[in-house]
Structures are given as structure tokens and as C-alpha cells.
Symmetry: C2
Subunit: 345 residues, 2 copies
């Protein structure tokens, strides 16, 4: 199937995909003959199309309709034929501006990014928020609530605040909690959460002497606060954009898609695959392995903090999307987000 196309067939396939992406209607030989500057007659083009059809790159929806790219056709187009269209200066600047303006917590930034991405792409956009496991502690704070409940506030990474209510085994006073927080801040600030957890466990065992009593207690409280919740999450924006595409008109399927996006679990598995990729990755239709994404493509790119992969962003749209615009858009946004995160520190 990884068949190599001769240059004329490739040119025509490229033309066909571009045309189909633009109009959304099966492309006939006449149209290609006129659109291409290669001075071929429709008849000749029909011959080429027959070859492409046989090879699985295009198909006609029915006898005597034009041709439409198949999944394989899109794949070949993207891998070998696509000429990306650089983002307009306006868009580049807009991305930079929006992402730099807010130095806020990562969660907000993810929302802003996905909103921006969905606007610029005209499709649905997704930004995963980084796993907590990859975060480094900057500061911790405890506040007593009612009896055996304590509010823990964590500042991680640069300016990201997380908080959670923990249930403790016994009651702690405000002063006591403050002491523990201070102890942790003093000893452990700058560590990333997993190693922090390990260190706390180790220290709690070692610190048997009486003077270190409070360190042991601190470790106990912190253990609750830092408890492993490595569940990743993502932010979706512009889902309503998908309603505008006539190829996604089947309300039933659309509903399934939205529900899958709401459930998040399965989708996260897909995005996690993209963490490995070094750059833009594209799933065309069923390539993603998810039924609900049948007629959709997903274009993703990982983004980085301090050279470390932090999360994934991407857009979801109909298979017939303007890849030549979308791919640079996603790539650029991933880049800008990384610098936005850095600037927010």
C-alpha cells in the first residue's frame, strides 16, 4: 500500500485533495483538467484517476460521480504532497499576544489556548493540562476547616495553584498546621511531587527522635495532601463549531462524539499517545482507533515546559479539513504556549 506514485498522479491527487477540502464535493475529471496547469484532457485524467482508485487513494461515492479522497489518500497527501501555508503575521501575533497576556495558572492558560485554537481553526480544540506528577512544589499551606478536615493549598511549578480538602485521622490546630507547612516549605521546596512523596515517606521513618516529632507529623499530613491524583484532564473549546460541517450532520453520531469528549477517559488515552511524538501528529478518521472519530481527523502537537514535554494540544474536525492551514496553526500554538508558560513564571 505504501505504493509510490509517479509525479503526474501525485500532482493530480494533490490537486484533488485540495479541491475537495475546499468544496466538499466529489471532484470530476473536467474540474481537475481545468484547475491543473498541466494541460491534460479530462479523458487522460480519468485514466489516472482509475489508477488512483484501484490503488485505494480515491473512490467515487457512486458510479459517475467525481472522486473523493480515501483515508489512504489523505494520508499520502499529508505525508508527501502537502505544502503548508505559513500562518499570517496577524495570527502569529494574535497567538503570542493572547498567550502572554495572561500569566495565570496553567488551568486558565489551557482554557485560553483552547479557546484561541478553536477560534482560529474554526473547529473544536483541546488542550490537556499537565499531570500533577510532573509538577515541582513551590510552597504548601494548610488551613483547618471543620474538625478533621484540612484545606491544603499547593503552589506548584511557576504560578499554579492547586487545592484540595483532605480528611485527617485526628484534629490539628491552626498553629500546628502552620508549623508543618513551614517545615515542608523549608526542607522540600523545589522537589517534584513524586520524589517529594518518597522523601516524606523515608524521612517519616527515619525521624524517630523526639525533636523530629513534628517533622513526622508534617509528613503524615502532607502525605494526605500530596496523595497521588495523577488523573490527567483536558479542556475542550469550540465544540459547537463542529455543528457547522455538513459532513457531521448525523445528529446521532455527533451526540456520540460529544459524549465521548465529555467522558474524557478514552480521549485522554489517545492524547497520551501524542506525548511521545516529536511534533505534529495526525489521525485521519479511523486511524485514531475510535469509532466516534470515524469522520473526523485529529491534529495534535505536544508542548513543552523547560524542555520537558508537558501536555498535548490539538484540534478535532472533519476529515475534510484544511490541513495546510491547520498543521502550522497547531505547531505554532504549541510553540507559543511553551513560551507563554515560561513567561508566566
Amino acid at each position: 500500500m505504501a505504493e509510490r506514485l509517479d509525479s503526474r498522479a501525485a500532482d493530480l491527487l494533490k490537486l484533488l485533495v485540495e479541491r475537495y477540502v475546499q468544496d466538499g464535493q466529489p471532484v470530476g475529471s473536467r474540474t481537475l483538467a481545468r484547475a491543473g496547469h498541466m494541460n491534460l484532457s479530462p479523458a487522460t485524467i480519468r485514466n489516472v484517476m482509475a489508477d488512483l482508485d484501484e490503488a485505494g487513494f480515491v473512490r467515487s461515492p457512486h458510479t459517475s460521480a467525481g472522486r473523493v479522497p480515501t483515508q489512504l489518500g489523505y494520508r499520502y497527501f499529508i505525508d508527501s504532497l502537502l505544502t503548508p501555508e505559513p500562518l499570517s503575521e496577524r495570527d502569529v501575533q494574535r497567538i503570542a499576544r493572547e498567550l502572554l497576556r495572561h500569566g495565570g495558572p496553567t488551568c486558565d492558560l489551557a482554557e485560553i489556548t483552547s479557546a484561541l485554537l478553536s477560534q482560529l481553526s474554526g473547529m473544536a480544540a483541546v488542550v490537556t493540562v499537565p499531570k500533577r506528577n510532573r509538577a515541582t512544589l513551590r510552597r504548601i499551606e494548610f488551613l483547618p476547616l471543620s474538625e478533621r478536615r484540612v484545606l491544603a493549598i499547593l503552589v506548584v511549578n511557576h504560578a499554579e495553584v492547586q487545592n484540595r480538602v483532605i480528611s485527617t485521622a485526628r484534629e490539628y490546630s491552626a498553629a500546628e498546621l502552620e508549623r508543618y507547612a513551614n517545615a515542608i516549605n523549608e526542607h522540600f521546596a523545589g522537589l517534584d511531587l513524586p520524589t517529594l512523596r518518597n522523601r516524606l515517606r523515608a524521612d517519616a521513618l527515619a525521624a524517630q527522635s523526639h525533636v523530629h516529632q513534628h517533622l513526622r507529623e508534617a509528613a503524615k499530613v502532607a502525605a494526605w495532601a500530596l496523595g497521588d491524583d495523577s488523573e490527567e484532564d483536558y479542556v475542550l473549546a469550540g465544540g459547537s463549531n463542529l455543528l457547522a460541517y455538513q459532513e457531521l450532520t448525523d445528529v446521532k453520531r455527533l451526540r456520540e462524539l460529544f459524549e465521548a469528549l465529555d467522558r474524557k477517559r478514552e480521549m485522554l488515552a489517545l492524547f497520551e499517545q501524542c506525548l511521545q511524538a516529536s511534533g505534529v501528529q495526525i489521525f485521519i478518521g479511523e486511524e485514531s482507533g475510535y469509532q466516534v472519530l470515524d469522520e473526523c481527523s485529529v491534529v495534535t502537537a505536544p508542548y513543552f515546559i523547560d524542555g520537558q514535554v508537558a501536555g498535548v494540544l490539538g484540534v478535532i474536525g472533519p476529515t475534510r479539513m484544511a490541513y495546510h492551514r491547520i498543521i502550522p496553526l497547531v505547531a505554532e500554538t504549541a510553540l507559543a504556549l511553551a513560551t507563554g508558560l515560561k513567561a508566566g513564571s
Copy 2:
């Protein structure tokens, strides 16, 4: 128009609405004759229907189709005829359980509530998150970021954490910021934000003497941190549920609806009206005043914290919804949310 219906007409209207809500198809005189236990012939019922038609409570989509309730019909039904169906014990317990399990911050609780509400109703659900203006400060904390940027962490109400990055006029050291935070925590904890803002302003003017210098500085920083951002917000869940109703099949209109829900601004204006209401409030179709909600109804109820109205929750669905189930559901959830918020303290 506030015409009083005689008891037979009322009974028939009630029957018709119930039937139509159930099946979604125009209800004919035969159906009503068989469904009602009043032993009337279809012809008699036709006469009554003609009256109801004339009075504007029902209409036929076309000659020789059954009748369908109008907006006015729904209104009369809800105001005077409806027999609410108490929630099942299971549902009541489920609501209580889900809302009490999480003692987390309000923002999370709003998400949980809306998810729950959308699940139980099978429609879209909305929960506004309380205005910051109504919050009382529990604790404040400052962390220096890069040069003239400071991360402010506010704990308000019971266990709710807010944070924002502020840009300051000059650079502050960590120690300095800590002093200010302490000063504020000491003097002003327990105040609600608006009065806190006023007090800070007054004190800053009064404290001219040198000893109070740091209080003045503290006020300055805090002013940035507490800056008025009274923009209310809400959480939407279960939007995809709306795709399941055949009366909301027009993709174009659906898109407009989703976009309006995304924009939030207009919708918030609607919800703010509901803050005044003492209990469940219902907007049928155009009653809301919003084009996009043409074929939808909105059922809302305010919820309270410590006896003070805090926000609004509600569901959005097709005009043809099972009001007798939805109204108690919304009422109950509002109640449960209030106690959930209290328990989370």
C-alpha cells in the same frame, strides 16, 4: 389572556400537555377521549379543543393534525394544573451523596452539581458560581514571581481558593510580601471583599505615621489583588444531551444555542434575574427573551449559603420537557447544594 378555564377544559388541557410531553406528537381528540376517564366522545372533545385553540392554549400544526400546547398553554399548565412528581428516594439520596462527598472548592462543586443535574434530567444543566463580591476573606497570601509580578492566593468563604497574578508598581521581596499578608490576615479576616476594599482604602489614607508604613504598603498590594472582578460565571454540563431531542434537530439553530451558551454573557443576564426569585422559576420558549432559546425552556432555582442567595442552578431543555419531574429535581438539587456547601466548610 389570564382567562380562567372551566374544569373540563382544564382537565383536557392537562391531559393534552402530559400526553404531548410524553410522545411529542400532536394529540388528537380520539386519543384524549380514550386517555381521559371522563367518558366523553371525540366530537365533544373537539369542541373543547376548538375553544382552547381560540383562547390560544393549543394550536394545530396544520389542518387535521392533533393539537399541540402553545407557550401560553404550557404556562397555564405549569401555573395551575401541574401535579409534581416527587423525586424517587434513590435520586434524592444520590444527589445528597454526590454533593456531600466532595467538600472541595465551590468551583468544583458547581461542576459536580451541573454534571449531576444534567444526568438526572437528561438535558443540559447550568450552575452559576457565586460572585466574588459576596465572598468573605478568610486568608490571603502573596508569592513573588518574576520581578514585578506577584501571585496572590485568596481563601474565601469556607474552603474556596482563588488566585491571580498581579502586576505591581515596584518589586517586592518575599519577606516584605509575607509581612503584608500577615497584616491583612490579622486585621481583616472575616470581612467580605467589598467592605474590605473600602476599609483598605480608608486605612491607607489614615495611616500616615511611619509606624504604619507597612500597613499602607500592604493596602497597596492588596488593592491590586482584590481588584474588582465581579464577573460572574457558570458551568455547563450535558450539552450533548440536547442533541437527542428531535425538536432540536435544526443544526443551525442548535449551533446558535451552543454558541450563546459558550459566550456566557447573555445567559448570565438571564440567570441573574433568577437570583431574585424565591424558588423555581421557569422560562418557556421566548419568555426568556432570547431568540436562541426559542424552542427551549429553562427551569432555574437560586441556591443559598448561610441563608444568603449565592447563585442559580437550572436545566435547559426542549419546551416539551417533563416539567412534573424536572421542577422537583431542580428544587431538590438547589436545596442539597446549599447543605453541601455548608458541610464543606
